[in-house]
């Protein structure tokens, strides 16, 4: 243990003290409504608070011991926390079980991390490891793609799984679209959902008011969203990065408020309903077709089944997402794509080299908006009902979290992050209430520990041959 123990204890005590001060009011005094009469009363949660603070004390002690290289005491402390977390000890709430258990996991992970990291990087540096890594990087995408294609044919693909698949792919597509703006061009767009809303309302209104079909509106929706992107982007793209972020946020809110308040056009908070779904060569996916259409089963002779529509939607969004991906991958190689990345790395240098930053940013912004517009009109066709509720800031934050978590600029990272952030909470329904908490926490932790994302790709796509690998810009 050594003479450092008192100092570590003091540090842990201080941390616990700060945690107690943070939690004292917000956690300790839970305000509850009493009846319908106005007024609140307290539901005291001091036991919960004390347990959480104790876990923080032990956890902090374990973490700092791990940092000092005292592995065994740290492992023991982490083990204690973990055992308390998973055991049937009667903690007041499930949340506390999670909290204590995860604290234990954190301590154990932190203790074992250095050796694991060393082993990993040694494996990665070895010639065999490099080959495996290169092959892995090449084939991971292919394997995922094959899985995605075969998913609807699998026996486990019931309605729920397909729904989830469509949802994840929608976010993958949005992530890829935003990746062009944030990952490649380095423009932080906090109002991405506004373009999504423009696309969704374009399709919803054009189809319900003018009877246009999904496939003819799809390019229009993209064009509308891109136009919005141009109109917004033109004046604001001269701004510095963080100002741009806030302006796009403001723009997102403006769009939402207009959707709520322009009742004549958008039907306000009540939303637009009865939106027709997409058709396949004029065939609708329903039991009976509206006049002038035939159903899918009439066209092909396959008997009607409720999941056909979902499968169809699944392949549409898969196709759209892949187009987004392909587009982004090809753009990266074009002069304009290289200019995006150059701009992200160093705007002043770009200016000095004669690039026009505003135009370059504008293309990225508009293209990103266009894909959000596509995704939006798909969303409207899938949901068949949209309202401004679906286009709140938190959606933008979720898409951004997917991009950030995946590693800005990384295409495959977006897929993994979308599966992680959208898929996991849907599978573990218990997590529902804590989903956004975990989201926010993940964003902070990734910025602190792995600012390049879980699967990083911030290297420019094109380099001079002689440049050393990993050399900074």
């Amino acid at each position: 243990m050594g003479p450092r123990l008192p100092a570590l204890l003091k540090d842990a005590a201080l941390t616990a003290f700060v945690a107690a001060a943070l939690g004292l009011f917000i956690v300790g005094f839970r305000t509850v409504d009493i009846g319908s009469t106005k007024g609140l009363s307290f539901d005291y949660q001091f036991v919960d608070l004390a347990i959480a603070v104790a876990a923080i004390f032990v956890g902090r002690l374990g973490l700092s011991m791990a940092a000092e290289g005292q592995r065994w005491p740290a492992l023991i402390l982490g083990g204690i926390l973990g055992v308390v977390g998973v055991s049937s000890v009667n903690l007041p709430s499930t949340f506390l079980h999670w909290f204590v258990g995860l604290a234990g996991l954190l301590v154990i992970g932190r203790t074992l991390w250095p050796s694991a990291d060393r082993a990993l990087s040694r494996a990665r540096q070895s010639p065999g490891g490099r080959t495996v890594g290169r092959i892995g990087a090449r084939w991971l995408g292919g394997i995922l793609l094959a899985c995605a294609f075969l998913m609807p044919m699998m026996p486990f693909a019931d309605q729920k799984t397909m729904d989830l698949g469509v949802l994840i792919l929608t976010y993958v597509m949005l992530g890829w679209g935003l990746n062009i703006v944030v990952g490649l061009a380095g423009l932080l767009d906090l109002g991405y959902v506004a373009f999504y809303a423009v696309g969704a309302y374009s399709y919803a209104l054009l189809s319900t008011q003018y009877g246009l079909g999904f496939w003819s509106v799809l390019p229009l929706a993209g064009a509308f969203a891109a136009t919005f992107g141009l109109v917004l982007g033109f004046p604001v793209l001269r701004l510095r990065g963080d100002y741009l972020a806030i302006v796009t946020l403001g723009f997102g809110e403006i769009i939402r408020l207009v959707l709520i308040n322009w009742v004549d056009l958008t039907n306000g908070p009540a939303g637009v309903g009865d939106i027709p779904g997409p058709t396949l060569f004029g065939a609708v996916f329903a039991e009976t077709a509206p006049p002038g259409h035939r159903t899918f089963s009439q066209m092909t002779g396959i008997p009607f089944d409720g999941t056909q529509r979902l499968i169809f939607l699944y392949y549409i969004i898969l196709g759209l997402a892949l187009i987004t991906n392909l587009f982004a991958l090809r753009m990266r190689r074009l002069p304009v794509g290289r200019a995006w990345e150059a701009l992200r790395e160093d705007e002043i240098a770009c200016r000095a080299l004669g690039l026009n930053p505003t135009n370059i940013k504008l293309t990225a912004f508009a293209i990103g908006a266009m894909f959000a517009g596509f995704a939006g009109s798909f969303f409207a066709a899938k949901q068949r009902f949209i309202s401004p509720e679906s286009f709140v800031f938190i959606e933008s934050a979720i898409i951004l979290a997917i991009v950030v978590l995946g590693g800005m600029g990384s295409q495959i990272g977006v897929v993994l992050a979308a599966v992680l952030l959208i898929g996991l909470p849907e599978w573990f329904r218990d997590l529902g209430n804590y989903r956004m908490l975990v989201f926010g926490l993940a964003m902070v932790l990734i910025m602190v520990f792995r600012p390049r994302g879980l699967i990083a790709h911030r290297e420019p796509s094109v380099r001079l041959h002689a440049a050393p690998p990993g050399g900074g810009g």
Binding site: T31, L190, P235, E253, L437, V444, M447, P451
Partner: protein
Amino acid sequence: MAYFSQQLINAITLGAIYGLIAIGYTMVYGIIGMINFAHGEVFMIGAFISLIGFMICSLLGIGSAPLAILLVLLLAMAFTAVYGWAIERLAYRPLRGSFRLAPLISAIGVSIVLQNYVQLAQGARPKPGGQIVSGGYNLFSADGFDVRVTWLQIIIVAVTLVLMTGFTWVIARTPLGRQQRACEQDMKMAALLGVNVNKTISLTFVMGAALAAVAGMLFLMYYGVIDFFIGFLAGIKAFTAAVLGGIGSLPGAMLGGLLIGLIEVFWAGYFSSEYKDVAVFAILVLVLIFRPTGLLGKPEIEKV
């Protein structure tokens, strides 16, 4: 005329609250050049701690309103300041020197965490705060319309004025303020000259959070109801105020807060209350496009 005067009084009250929040944005931006996106949430936490503080006061039987307000003010400032300190320590300090957008993304994460933390701990329903101060003073009446200033409005403006004067004095005259200004100009040089940069930045966050807590308390007293989501809108409006006044400038934040209060109240009073938030956002966009340095800000020179 009467209607106008009444709106003016309401606008100044609202502007005072925005100004208090805006100072937190402006001080942090001035010193480390980041938008503390979570500042609105700190304001929300301050409002919740005030609500709980007032409830504790009434449980303890503290009947006198001035005493209760003073106690809750100190309590909320102290405990919200801990939040400000902890956020900086945990989510921003490790990112100093990381790429440019990292602190902003981290701040968005903090903001989401705090919102959901309060929602989980305190519930999602709006919380009624009860009326702590009632009554007012009729200034004059015209066109059959009483122009009235409530005691609460007087308290809000008075508290704001006292605190702003105090903080301006701290920045302008004390060693701490000098260190803050030094860090603002050149952090590395300040460190070489013996300024404890980390401590100064921490204290900046503490001061900003304390002022946001005051704003939270005043907001609670003024509107009488709060929920876990109030920080988002108030935060953006206060940020707009900070930008409008010239980010980094303390008097600018106050001026900007006042202007945003005026715009919002008069827009709602004369045009439409549905679009008052759109008006504020539009102002933000317009200011950033045409005068990114704000009304009282210094032009920013980007160095390589």
